[in-house]
Symmetry: D2
Subunit: 346 residues, 4 copies
């Protein structure tokens, strides 16, 4: 049994982690950390867990926790983990961080886009970016995994093969992304009220969203060179789901089959990536509540562009599900454990 | 391995059955019946099942099917099963019917409320009404189970103990019910279009809804006498979930604790019924995508009425989940098998 | 031109008042009061009003305001108006209060249900309960109108004729009400977040909701005797709309036509009440964004109950629209002025 | 009084036309045409119009109708109007067509993208493309106006100044569009069911949507040369609203102020176009139920692209509202008549 502690268990990502881990036969949750609900029954915060989880919320005592569990998930605000993490803790426990603290190798990029001083830059180098399909081998031996953002997972995975294979002009990439509201978290803010989100759509963070440099860094590794792109997120009135529409200029003539072959090369055996059939484009409900990423592409001969559309569930593959997948890889168990529920169509 | 055939696998209830049975370790689905999609790949109808289900939809050949599987689920229109079922089929295979065909012991009630002639009334007597928590013992040996309606399961379970214990005036019962749109099925009708349902609420079947006599019959057994009540269903703009608000006059003074004791007597050990704590009333999201029924009640001393509020997921405990629960009971395996996923909060 | 001041112009009811008054040809808005947005441009708070409203939000200086306008609308928290209102103010200006402060004749009822000490009970007597269709004559000469609550307007209007005519047992009334989320206001609270309300339904204030005594008081006047009833509100995932389902025992046999005649007696010439045709029950979208109340009823001979279903738009007829209607009556202009927009179907 | 006939009055665009024209003081609706509801009361099809519209639906007798009204709106399927329109009819009556039949000057483009043979190509030349802000002068004297599509109105208006002024590379334009479900019309199809659209998002018509050539033709006039671009529509779970996100490479360095000046040149005095302040990006709810188009733009110095975001209400400015605006222009009355309702925030 892998003993697990969760810090930030009462947010939406934390709640989803609990839901997924309860269905994972090799895991025992030992610690439901929640600074805002200390000593409150967990099932009083998430009533769906009534009679399922009997534990109480606890404060986050990292030192103590590190001695009691095998892995800690931190679903915490930016700057939290980097403010308290130490080598000593990492000697005792594996950490999967759902915040952005260790996602960037260049600390200046982090500090510039997040406007937070990074307190433990010396640990950045050791952190592995936890995009399972790309970094599987490195994750196996990692002590500290930086779990990717929801938008970034969808954005990177859908065009990675094109970039890696040099099929597209890396200066031409535009990613137009749409997300359900759970990505904004459970904080009580005016802009997340039901009547503000319902029957409404908006773009936000136009040309300034923090997931932009994260996508650029990872695609840069694939391109073996700097990638600068446009990324525009939009808020959609639904709970779960991200859909990304990526546009890029093809470097040279390529048929559907040529492109398909490249995707197959990278993803054919991936358990959670489903390349749809020709002419089929994914819908967010096809992956709802699951760890799948579905994708489809189209070549437009009129403009010589390729359009790639991808979807995932932002709090599963975009957060908690990928975190569990990372844990499975880190502990050497079947990567799919606890993640094989079929998507919910309705 | 229990071999399963599904007739009507491409409706919403059928799709949910597939989803649940795929997560049931003791079951193998052998037959995806769908009259409207014969020879089409199942995952082309429900794209969430892409690469998960490789089978094709088949016609419903009952004779053949009965020889190949251990149990058949019929998620079919009213009148279908009763039009073709025979003793001979029942000798070979167990049947769990999600339609209303065998729910009523009095064939006249069925024919009056459904306006369909019942073709096999001789089989009605043997059918067991599959409300697991009430009829568990009878279900164990049943060959033919009439799986209850979604509204009825919620309505009956929430006030059964009150009726059984004689605590309420059985002539005073009013049930005001609200349901998400998946209960209306996947038929392409004007009234179920997105723009007709969204940002809208309506009552329907006022004083004439077919679930009324079903509730009355079952509560009549509990009351040991005829029960006539008002039942009003409403359509709510959401996919899943039913909430029932039941009102009744208390027969005599009773404290919260008195009533609680009665509920506990019947439900304390039930795995899927959660009696909430005092002052807590259930929300549909607390049971989303799960087989739970949550309930809470309040005594109003001003009017001497009790108000009981219950929720369930209409296509799980209200349809496919209860059907699986019935199957587990009929085959003597742990009743909870395949049904223990925690509810999804968002 | 009627000069208008609004206190609380940046809540949802206040915003709707502004929208309606901008389309009212006999009105000029002089004062956009908003304690939380003083000196902010009104259209920065409600961006839909960009380039339409150029004014800035102001503090609420009642003394000053009373000298500058003909009527003040207060869309403010409970206890606000009663804490500052004086005879002197009322000598100078008419007031239409959208809060509950002056809705109850018995100050003890107010203080008990709202848990607020009423600071100006001496003004209660003069206040007129602004349910236009019932109190039109009194409203004409009122200086202080207590604009009814959203649930109450729908609840009272739909069964008033039955109570007034003595057709129903006044001890048997049960009102099961459902509301969209805008009724909860624009405060940033966890329970009103999109992901908490969407795909969810719940009851709240069971047997304790503050609109209960308001309904009881008004129906008591109609019944000429004390009325005690059950009222249960529910939250529905939509922005606008209230639907009430009322149940009552008929005192004696009555045909549909008998009942219809009674409704016609009271409502036939009412411009904003639409009694639907036999067998038709109202949907909230039929009155969306309008001042109409639609209603339909059904007699259930099986239980001898009548079921009356009514709908209105909670922030129009349930708040801002009725406030404008009251203003029209108080100033002797056509009651329908500014309120004749047809409902929006989608 | 302008006498109006509507063909296709029972679809969503037709219903919105009725709603808007009822609030237009210079108009009288003489003919509610609806092939599928002949002799049915209009308010039985759209119950929101109960007691507001007393007329019955009529068949479309164009000859007769042309003699009775001043203008006919056709909210009909593609190919309908072009199949029956004649010079003789145009001699008698003005026509505003909400279908695509006369939007393209090159009949081959129409026939290729719509796969319909055009039966009256000789009338194409006289038709004026009714994008009011661009073609106002031509519309004034038109007998036949081709009312633009919803996506196209938003797409063209938001980038027209950039193209016209030569500020962007006309080969670099990408438009990523998102629409509410009412754009799909009131036909009863599986894909438009509530449970299929709700909690879901999808792209459709990828690289093949029919609005593409319409946008290209109009922008081509502005560019004075052929424009080929990518246009990708997406379906969003809401009733009303379109949001377009347009991307293009800037031809040369330009500051925010430079660009703003160009927009102001074209739109400063436009009553229905609102250029938002710097840093503000539009939300669909800001224009809900109104004829406004809101837009905001951002220059991304990192990629040298400009991102322009625009919103409109797809059935007002994207259909019925623009049709009324065209009518106003054609009849020489104030263009804003009947269209000045402020947007509804909730």
């Amino acid at each position: 049994m892998i003993k697990v502690g969760i810090i930030g268990a009462t947010g939406y990502a934390g709640g989803e982690l609990v839901r997924l881990l309860l269905g994972h036969k090799g895991v025992e949750i030992k610690w439901y950390g929640s600074k805002s609900h200390i000593d409150k029954k967990y099932s009083d915060v998430f009533q769906n867990m009534f009679r399922i989880v009997e534990d109480y919320c606890m404060d986050a005592n990292f030192e103590k926790l590190a001695g009691e569990v095998d892995v800690i998930f931190t679903a915490t605000p930016q700057g939290y983990l980097s403010g308290i993490l130490t080598e000593k803790i990492l000697d005792k426990v594996k950490i999967i961080d759902l915040s952005a603290d260790y996602r960037f190798k260049d600390v200046k990029v982090y500090e510039q886009w997040y406007q937070i001083e990074h307190k433990t830059p010396q640990l950045i180098n050791e952190a592995v970016y936890g995009l399972c399909e790309i970094n599987r081998e490195k994750i196996k031996n990692a002590r500290l995994v930086a779990n990717p953002g929801c938008y970034t997972t969808c954005s990177i995975l859908t065009i990675y093969p094109l970039v890696k294979a040099g099929l597209i002009d890396k200066h031409s990439i535009i990613i137009d992304a749409k997300s359900g509201a759970s990505g904004a978290g459970r904080g009580a803010t005016l802009q997340n009220l039901y009547c503000e989100v319902n029957e409404n759509m908006k773009a936000y963070g136009v040309a300034t969203h923090r997931h932009t440099p994260e996508i650029e860094e990872q695609l840069g590794y694939a391109a073996d060179g700097k990638v600068v792109l446009n990324f525009t997120p939009h808020l959609v009135p639904m709970n779960r789901g991200i859909l990304t529409t990526a546009y890029a200029n093809l470097q040279k003539d390529a048929s559907y089959e040529d492109i398909k072959e490249v995707y197959d090369k990278y993803y054919k055996n991936e358990p959670f990536i489903r390349g749809l059939e020709k002419g089929i484009f994914p819908q967010t409900k096809w992956v709802q509540a699951s760890n799948y990423v579905d994708m489809g592409f189209k070549i437009d001969p009129r403009t010589n562009r390729i359009i790639v559309i991808g979807v995932l569930d932002n709090i599963v593959k975009g957060a908690a599900g990928q975190a569990v997948q990372n844990m499975n890889i880190m502990f050497g168990i079947d990567e799919k454990t606890g993640l094989l529920q079929p998507p919910m169509y309705i």
